[in-house]
Symmetry: C2
Subunit: 335 residues, 2 copies
């Protein structure tokens, strides 16, 4: 295992230490629980809290989006493992300003169970919560079973849009509705070329031949739709876009934001080559792209591959997307 | 070769196409030469031009820093190969506003030769130029042969500081002096865990065993100081910092910006773990860190490893560093 780490057991805590060393002016952890990361950004009085949580190993997801205009807090689990419900409750408590907290997170078994429990416990403390689960990965279940789908990179758009809505003073139901509306218009799919290595396990999460690519693979190495012979960038873009456009039909005149998300080891050059083709496919349909996001937004450590996310915009969602935001790993300096 | 590309020969042109599809509102290429990327950002009248150039395969270096507050133009070479002097001249001509152009680039043979020739040709057209070469890699030559050193990630700080000076209306000599002063206070060193693959070659740039790490390796796979048995993150940070602090002595009360730069395949988590140790070493000496930069700034495609850059600040350099800048791959939203 070739990783720049110390004790595998300390991987997550040392990552958090690094975050605090680097960005301690912008974020902090709870004194009694270092697995709760909170924003130091000043917020409008009574702003609805927006929180997330999940396993480590996906930076900038999840904790990298804690900051102005996005998340108030993040509960941090071990690598690819849900944080505990106690940690989630600590976070919800810290992020409530009397107007309630939206729990906005990826649709995974452990996270669902623990967030549900934390929300129940929060209710006993008279903290109102709402839950919106991100399930944007079209490869993980068919459209008629959308509630079975996993949450992947599309969650970043949901954080952004819900964060902007909360900053504008919207109430809890309103913010939850905006997040749900955004997610109804977000579809993602990824491909993987190589696995990642969980530090404590010390071995690759899956194996794939030197001449193969896994279409539709999840960000923890969950099996995809098919293992195919290695394809060109254009063929990959075509395959992914065909599936995404089936799920999220777009018409001439529509406007989307596109995220091409590197999973960890894929060079920016390759992401741009794929983006170029995605852009051309959309242009052919008369669909315009607004604020493309290209880079690493939701990774699997050193996994090679990428995902493409389409976010169909309307006037409201577009305005929320372009609002300024500033976190250690996401800066939108739009005026 | 597992890469998300099409024809290897089209790698660079398709990357540029991707850049233009994604950021065509902010950058453009010269109509007669697509290997010259220019900024669309409005600039103060008569601003000194700042240009760079070099081989492809290092995104965001070089072209990712073309934009407001940094570079006016970039000449784009093939992978790991210098752009031609003709391309450089086209760029210099396009970036001159009558007050001259600073050529600020990494100290590599081909780039030196071609930039020298381009500057000579520019002189015939009455365009004043100045040259500042970046040679921040302490592993590539001893301190008494600093002019033999290669330029690596430290160039990003030089782009930032020179860009801010030019925006403030400083003249060509002044901007060149600021860039040189910054570089006198910048030292970098990297380690590599795995090689990258040049698309046209189709095979790794070098080989390294599964249990080894190359200390001081260059961003094209140039040999480093030693091949060592794999080390922990803290040991790597200690080794790199020992060498950097020999080169750039720091005293209690000094202030530095630190860049931990992923070379391509190294997870952000690992970069943060290394940053944590760098931060602790500096804190032990009473040295404060200002505006840490953690992420991928100067890569070698899918190479695993990272570099650490120290930039010793004074009041002037600090002010220039924190000025706002906005390019497709670098946003400094400081107010």
């Amino acid at each position: 295992m070739k990783k720049l780490i110390n004790e595998p057991l300390h991987f997550v805590d040392e990552t958090i230490e690094g975050i605090l060393c680097a960005y301690g002016d912008r974020v902090r952890t709870l004194e009694e629980n270092n697995r709760v990361l909170l924003s130091n950004a000043p917020v409008p009085e009574g702003k609805v809290g927006i929180v997330t949580g999940g396993g480590s190993g996906h930076l900038p997801v999840f904790l990298g989006y804690v900051g102005q205009g996005m998340l108030d807090g993040c509960a941090i689990g071990n690598v690819f493992a849900s944080p505990s419900s106690e940690t989630m409750l600590d976070m919800i408590r810290a992020c409530d300003r009397g107007r309630g907290v939206l729990c906005l997170y990826g649709n995974y078994g452990g996270d669902n169970m623990n967030f549900d429990m934390a929300c129940e416990l929060a209710e006993f403390e008279d903290i109102a919560t709402q839950t919106v689960r991100v399930s944007d990965d079209v490869a993980s279940a068919p459209a008629d079973k959308k509630d079975k789908r996993r949450g992947v990179a599309g969650m970043v758009y949901a954080f952004k849009v819900a964060g902007a809505a909360a900053e504008q003073g919207m109430d809890l139901d309103g913010v939850a509705a905006v997040a749900a509306e955004a997610l109804d218009n977000i579809s993602s799919m990824g491909v993987a070329l190589s696995p990642c290595i969980v530090p404590e396990a010390g071995k690759p999460t899956f194996s794939i031949s030197d001449d193969e690519i896994e279409i539709g693979m999840g960000i923890h190495g969950e099996p995809g739709i098919e293992v195919a012979k290695m394809m060109t960038a254009d063929e990959v873009a075509d395959a992914v876009m065909a599936r995404l456009l089936e799920d999220l039909p777009l018409e001439e005149g529509d406007e989307v934001s596109v995220m091409v998300n590197g999973l960890g080891a894929t060079p920016l050059e390759e992401q741009l080559i794929v983006y170029r083709r995605v852009h051309a496919i959309l242009a052919d349909r008369g669909v315009a792209v607004y604020m493309p996001h290209i880079g690493e937004f939701a990774t699997s450590m050193e996994m090679a591959g990428l995902s493409v996310t389409l976010f169909k915009l309307n006037a409201k969602l577009k305005t929320l997307l372009r609002q300024p935001a500033s976190t250690p790993f996401y800066t939108n300096a739009n005026k």
